[in-house]
Point group: C2
């Protein structure tokens, strides 16, 4: 018995893994797309690190096209990365390129897949960043990539954006996620959003169209003293 | 006798050529960076179409590094392109990739050059789009790329963004430019902005720091009945 199905782009990362496990426990079928296999997922599509943007997108779409009648209730893109630096940083172009690849390419591919494989009234969620609501001089490549994702979410949500009938497009805008990587490199301060909380929110939005913010919303995840609230940007 | 100097990224395109000619007539030294030579420019750096983002940026910077003490008063990035289509368009990924290359890569390279080769109190201008202030469901790749450029301009303008002392960062947001290409494919309707008008504006902003809108501004170019006005977004 399945309650539904989801596709997680970046399904082997810290947040992606948490989402896969959370939805699986709720009876959902889960498909992970990532460079590495997520053994907890019902199915995996492996990305190839030597493929460019277009070839990667085509390879993934071909696999899904081959699954007769493949459809999911939600597609979440939680791939991404972070890099600091301003215009003058020696690695500025390299870092900015990486941010485009990690956040923008992945979001574009997930959004394109949503136009083909999302059920009517389904849900597309991409990962933006609260920081990108303002100028980001100390992490320019990161902020620019996330601002691009915000525009993608808003455009996908607009009439004739290409999503199936009734489907919604949302962005989650974390401040800092409580990941093992962040625990390793930064000092925890009580404002980090627990990954399970993000998964719970996505589950809530997936379960009932009426339970999510309006399509096109940029949803900030604000955590204080361990409590997470959402705030529309 | 030179009044100053400018660098035009995309200096052989319709707008770029107009800018080069306009500034040259005002006594400025002009450097064009483009895939093709602009014979009207005092100097040219030719881009190579087979180079990727990082290699292209490095190649251009190396040429400028080799010009001892090279500095300019303004850097304008007027490279770009346009593509329509929504998430479901068959060429969505390809088109979106092209928009990133034409508008975002070029803007990144121009901004990086500005951090190294702009004089104090100089001017960096990148080309956004008025359309990208709102969702762009019928030209998603275009709108996303331009939204990225807007964030880049705002971040470059913020303290510690990496620009030289007193330098300004602005975006011009055209609706439609009166180019030969647009004349060929669309019907002129009196709201297209003349290229000379854009060049005149850039010249005004370059000539006196006080004559330009505040650094970080997204400057819409609104043309009605042949008259162009600016409006800060």
């Amino acid at each position: 018995m399945s309650s539904g199905s989801i596709l997680v782009y970046g399904g082997r990362g810290a947040l992606g893994s948490t989402i896969v496990t959370f939805f699986k426990e709720k009876g959902f079928k889960t498909l992970s797309i990532d460079f590495f296999e997520n053994e907890a997922a019902d199915d995996n599509i492996l990305l190839k690190s030597d493929l460019g943007f277009e070839a990667q997108a085509e390879a993934v779409k071909n696999v899904l096209d081959a699954k007769s009648g493949f459809k999911v209730d939600a597609i979440f893109c939680v791939a991404g990365g972070w890099a600091g630096g301003n215009l003058k940083t020696a690695t500025f172009i390299k870092d900015s390129h990486l941010m485009l690849q990690q956040s923008v390419w992945s979001s574009y591919i997930a959004a394109h897949l949503a136009s083909h494989f999302l059920n009517d009234n389904g849900l597309l969620v991409l990962t933006g960043a609260q920081a990108a609501l303002n100028p980001t001089p100390d992490m320019i490549g990161y902020g620019v990539a996330k601002a691009a994702v915000h525009q993608l979410v808003k455009s996908a949500a607009a009439p004739k954006g290409g999503l199936p009938e009734g489907a919604r497009s949302l962005a989650i805008l974390p401040v800092t996620l409580d990941t093992p990587m962040n625990r390793k490199y930064m000092t925890y301060n009580g404002t980090w959003t627990p990954l399970e909380e993000v998964a719970r929110l996505l589950f809530e939005w997936t379960s009932a169209p009426g339970a999510s913010p309006a399509s096109g919303s940029l949803v900030q995840l604000i955590t204080k003293d361990g409590n997470t609230e959402t705030k529309i940007a």
